[in-house]
Subunit: 395 residues, 2 copies
Amino acid sequence: MAIKYANRMERMKASEIREILKLTLQPDMISFAGGLPAPELFPVEEMKKVAVEVLEESGEKALQYSTTEGFLPLREKIAQRMNKFNINAKAEDILITSGSQQGLDFTGKIFLNPGDVVICESPSYLGAINAFKAYECKFAEVPTDDEGMIMEDLEKILEKTPRARLIYVIPDFQNPTGKTWSIERRKKLLEIASKYDLPIIEDNPYGELRFEGEIPPSVKAFDTEGRVVFLGTFSKTFCPGLRLGWVCASKELLEKYIFVKQSADLQTSTIAQIELNKFLELYDLDKHVEEIKKTYRKRRDLMLNTMKDNFPKKVKFTYPEGGLFTWVELPDGIDAKELMKKAIEKKVAFVPGGSFFPNGGHENAFRMNYSNMPEDKIVEGVKRLAEVLKEELGK
Amino acid sequence: MAIKYANRMERMKASEIREILKLTLQPDMISFAGGLPAPELFPVEEMKKVAVEVLEESGEKALQYSTTEGFLPLREKIAQRMNKFNINAKAEDILITSGSQQGLDFTGKIFLNPGDVVICESPSYLGAINAFKAYECKFAEVPTDDEGMIMEDLEKILEKTPRARLIYVIPDFQNPTGKTWSIERRKKLLEIASKYDLPIIEDNPYGELRFEGEIPPSVKAFDTEGRVVFLGTFSKTFCPGLRLGWVCASKELLEKYIFVKQSADLQTSTIAQIELNKFLELYDLDKHVEEIKKTYRKRRDLMLNTMKDNFPKKVKFTYPEGGLFTWVELPDGIDAKELMKKAIEKKVAFVPGGSFFPNGGHENAFRMNYSNMPEDKIVEGVKRLAEVLKEELGK
C-alpha cells in the first residue's frame, strides 16, 4: 500500500522532543518540561457543585448541539474580562475555541498559503510553530531583547519578505523565555504592522498570572484598525481539562475564524461552556487566580534562587514577572538535547531549546517550568540539574 | 485594511443555507432541518452521578491536560464496541476526537493537496464536503442507487481521475438519503480502492441506530490492508454536547491523525472522556440506544406515514431502516430553496438538497429529520409542508 499524503504531512513527523518527553511521564521523574498548571489548585469541589447545578437547571441544553460561535452568556463574560488587557470587547467579538491551540491552528488555516511567511519572535512557542507548519509556511524569526521583539530587525525583515502574511507574538511572559514586552514595543509593532498591512496574532495564555506590578495594556488595546487577533485561554487560570479558549477579533476577522470552526469541529463542548459560565456566576475567578499566583510566585522564587545558588556561573536565565517558564542559556557549543539525556538519567527533565527556533540552531538553551512541581521537588530537581551542568561545564 | 487570506478562504463563505437555518431557531418553528438527537432522551440524571463520581475519584486528573491519543480506558471500550461493526480493534487503533466532524477535517488535512479529488456519493454529507473544501480539493460525485454507490460508475470515474486521493462514504443510513449499502457493494468498494490504492473514509455516525434487522459488517470489517479509516461518534447514541468521536485506523494511518490532532487542539477534553468512560462503566449504553431506537422508529413511521398520506403523489422519498433522515425528491424544475422560503412562512423547515451535491445542481430535493421533533409536531409539520407542496405541484 502506498497511499499518497498531502505535502504538509512531510513536515509533521514525530518530533524527537516528543519522544524524549514521553520519558518524563515516568512516575519518579521530576519534570520541569511541560507547561502544566498545578493540579492541586484546580477547583474540584466547586466544579462538583457547578456540574450538578448545570445538569439540574439545563441538562438537555448542556448535552445538545449548540452554536459554532459559543454560549452567549459565556461570550459576554469573556468580553468583559478582556478589560483586564485594556480591551473594550463585546460578546460578538468572541469565538469560543477548544483551547487556544485551536485558535493557532485556525490562524494558519485562515492566513497561510504554502510558502507564505510567519513573522515570529526568536525563540517562539513550539505549539504555534507546529500549528502553522501544517499550512506549509516558512518562518522569519525576529531577534528579541528584554523588551520584546527588536523593532529595527522586524522592519528590516519585513522589507525583504514580501510573502510575510502574519506576525505572531506572545507579549506577556513569553513562551519559552518568560519575558514581557514594553509598552513602547507594543505600540511600535502596531505601527509597523499597519505599514505592511499585516494581521497580528497576540497569544496571551499567561497574562493574568502576573506576580508583580500591573498587567500592561495588550497589543490589541492599541489596535484602532481591527488588525489584532487576541487568543485567550482558561487553561492556566481555571483548568485545561475542559479545553476552553477564545478568539477576540474584529467582525471581519472573527467571521473567518467562525467559518473555519464550523468545518473543523462544529462547536466547542456545550456542557464545558455552560459549566464555565456557571462557575463564573457562582465563584470569583479573580480570587482563584490570586491563589494560583501566590503558589506560582513562591515556586518561581524557589526555582530561581536554587538555580542561582547551584548552577554554574556561565549559565544564564531569565527572571519572569509571571507566567510559567524561565529560559536557561548555556555557553555556545553546549547541546541541550544531549544534556537532556543525562538529566533524564538523573530523573529530571526540561525542554531543550532548539524546538523553539523554527529555522533551527540555538541548541544551547532550555525551558524550565515552575508551576507544576511541588516545592520540595523543585529544589531537588534543580540541584540534580545543577550536577549535570557542573559535570558538563565545571563550576 | 486589505489583509490577505489564504486561497482556501474564498471557498469558505457564509452559506445561503446557514442563513436560512438561522430562521429555524425561531421558537415556534417546526424544524426538520438539523440533525439533532431528541434531547428528552439524554441521560441527564445519570450524568449527574457520573460527573460527581469522576470529580470525587479523579478530579485533578480530569481537569488536567492529558494525552493527544485519548484516555486509555475509553479507547479500550471503544475498541470493544467496534465489534458491533465486525471490526476487531485494539485501544491503540483508536484516537479520540472532538466529535467526528474533527475526523473529517483531519482527513482533509492528511490527504488533500489543492486540486486533489475526493470521490464521494452523490449526494453526500454537507459537513464533510465543507471540511474537505477547506483543503481546496475538487469532488467527483458517484451516482448511487438503493444499494449504495454504483460500482461501475465508480470505476469509470477513477479511470479518468488520476488525482483522486480518497473515497468518502457513509454506508449506513447515509446522510442525506437514509440509504444503506449492500454487503456486496462494501466488498466491491474495497476491491476497487485496493486496485487504485486509495484510502476509504467510512463515516458511520448512525449505524447503531438500526430499527430493523441486523447491523451489517462495516466496510472496514472486510479491510485486510488497513486502508479504511472508520469515523465514529457518541453524538447520536449518547449526546453531542460533550463532543466525543473517534477515528479507528491502522497504525500507519492513525499516526497521521495523531500528529494532526496534536497541532490542531492538543487533545479532546479530558473530563468529557473520563465522564463517558465512567458512564460506560456504570450504565448500559446499549440499553440506552434501544430506548433511542424505539423513539426514533416511532417518529420515522409517523413522519413517513404522514408524508405518504399528505404529500402529492409526484413527490418521492426514501424509507430508511434507521438513522435520522429521509430524503425527498421533487419533480424536475422545482427548486427546494424556493420551497423552503414558503415553508418558513408556514413555520416549518427542512434542508434544501442542493448543498449535498458538491458540484451543484439537483435543487429538486430536500432532507427531513425525524429524530428531534416530538410526535405531534411531526404530524403538524408534515401537514404544513404538504400544503406548501400542493400549492406548488397540485395534488
